[in-house]
Amino acid sequence: MTGQILVVEDEEHLARGLKFNLEAEGYKTEVAGDGETALNLLLEQRAAFDLLVLDVMLPGKDGFTVASELRQANHYIPLLMLTARGRPEDVLKGFAAGADDYLPKPFDLKILLARIQSLLRRREWSRVLVNDAPSESRVAESRSGDLLREFDVYAFSGKQVDFATLELRANGKIFRLTLMEAEFLRHLIRNCGKIVSRRQILEEVWGLHEDTDTRAIDNFIVRLRKYIETDPSKPQHLLTVRGVGYRFLPKPTGGN
């Protein structure tokens, strides 16, 4: 299995040992020495990684903070937390902060590798679910709604979304989407032209039921507009329908 892994570990020996082993398994591996660097790589530079191995006791921001900041920014990279603190309350704190898996130090190398593999495999599965489309409609043009039920690549006004690789090409740039960003966009595209309510989005994309903070959706919209729209303050594709929800339009409406 291949994948790009970011290891956040300040202990040089451990970082080197982990990198060596992960590379020996065929993963591309990078090391960040502290939480700030990792957050910068993932959120600011939007570097493409498939998995994050995160130590808890880091200089400056600790692993719990890094994890929750990532999740707050809706970054859903699979996250394995690695720590010397193995008490149940620490484990729970790790999961609450947004870890997908938690491994206390000292760990068994084989178990670490197996857990990494399982996290990556799950990511692969969810990708397969995203693009379990019939092959003839691989590229769907934005014409008929029914054709768009499932698709791998969707193109509209010179922009292209690839749901298999989670890449979005727009304005001559390639953006990498998180799984949730892609799912959200896919849901809007599926209902192209129709108004989609926030509640519907929460239920159908996230599987959440009401009462959840709907700000999360606004953050997603802001980010997606940044990718798609030429001028994010005057959206042409992702329109807000005040008090109701959002609407996706494949072609600019012309006059507003």
């Binding site: 202990e11 020996h13 451990l14 080197r16 040992g17 982990l18 060596f20 082993n21 020996a24 006791m57 200089p59 400056g60 010397a84 603190r85 704190k93 130090k105 000292p106 760990f107 068994d108 190398l109 084989k110």
Partner: protein
């Protein structure tokens, strides 16, 4: 999470203490008002209420102190857990790598080197914890003998340079390599080396990437020798200069959060120096302006 709940505990204890003291004070005043004509009950009553109020205040102070100490012990446990588990994790990782993978000779050598360094680090932590426990024991045994300060410092300086991979000009001292008049103290060589290496380690740890550390030997009078270790590090706020010698105590600031420590180093330094009949203190112009730690020991008397 745990820290905020501690703060709440402290706030609760203080509020309760103040309330009880206020009630006692109110009762005291009404007692005075009611009995102001009769001298004996008035005197006894005021005395009693005075005791109660003093007791409540003392109790509150001790409680708050105990909670604080608990907190420091907690962070000490965290730090030591980390310091013990990290090298073990590393050694295990490298051993498993050696066991499970085909490696060439250079890689194998490199891994052995890494593991050796980890065992050293482990040993250092274990030594530090054991030493902290030992120096507080009343019947701790010190093997005192006449020790020449020059070679003692020379060894400590060289050890610090090699341990932190520093160039010779990062850690300087007056008599570097030069022969000097013997200046001796009565002490336990091993314990005194531990004192110096703790102070030097701190100087390196709490300094920027290229530290400038200077060791000086001063004789203020005929009876004492002072070893001064000066660094260009993050400094110590004036309110914390004494507290840093307390067991488990660590200054809380963004700069110190970058540094890992158990809060034992200066505690050990002070305990050993005291056992030798000496004193130790820290001076700093403030945050970011470096620190000077002075160890004063009595001179060897024939």
């Amino acid at each position: 999470m745990r820290i905020t709940s501690r703060k709440r505990t402290i706030a609760f204890a203080v509020t309760l203490g103040v309330l009880v003291a206020a009630v006692a004070l109110a009762l005291n005043i009404s007692w005075i008002v009611l009995n102001w004509r009769e001298v004996v009950p008035l005197f006894i009553g005021v005395l009693f209420f005075g005791f109660i109020i003093a007791g409540v205040i003392l109790n509150t102070i001790f409680l708050v102190r105990e909670v604080r100490r608990n907190e420091q012990q907690d962070s000490f446990l965290n730090a030591v857990t980390h310091e013990l588990k990290t090298p073990i994790t590393s050694i295990r990782l490298y051993l498993e790598t050696l066991q499970q993978r085909q490696l060439d000779e250079t890689q194998r050598r490199e891994f052995y080197q890494v593991m050796l360094q980890d065992t050293q680090r482990l040993m250092g932590t274990v030594d530090q914890v054991l030493r902290a426990a030992r120096v507080t024991q009343k019947n701790a045994i010190f093997h005192k003998s006449e020790i020449d300060v020059g070679p003692l410092i020379q060894d400590a300086v060289e050890l610090a340079r090699s341990r932190h991979h520093l160039p010779p000009d990062a850690v300087t001292w007056d008599l570097d390599g030069k022969p000097a008049e013997p200046l001796s103290v009565a002490g336990d060589r091993e314990e005194l080396s531990a004192v110096l290496s703790n102070v030097l380690d701190n100087a390196v740890k709490y300094s920027p990437k290229d530290p400038q550390i200077h060791v000086d030997v001063v004789t203020p009078d005929l009876e004492h020798v002072q070893i001064k270790v000066q660094d260009n590090g993050i400094g110590i706020p004036s309110g914390e200069l004494k507290r840093v010698f307390k067991r488990f105590y660590r200054v809380l600031s963004p700069a110190t959060q970058q540094v890992k420590g158990s809060g034992l180093g200066l505690f050990i330094v002070r305990a050993i120096t005291r056992r030798h009949g000496g004193r130790t203190w820290a001076e700093s112009e403030g945050a970011g302006k470096g620190t000077t730690v002075t160890i004063e020991l009595p001179r060897y008397q024939q």
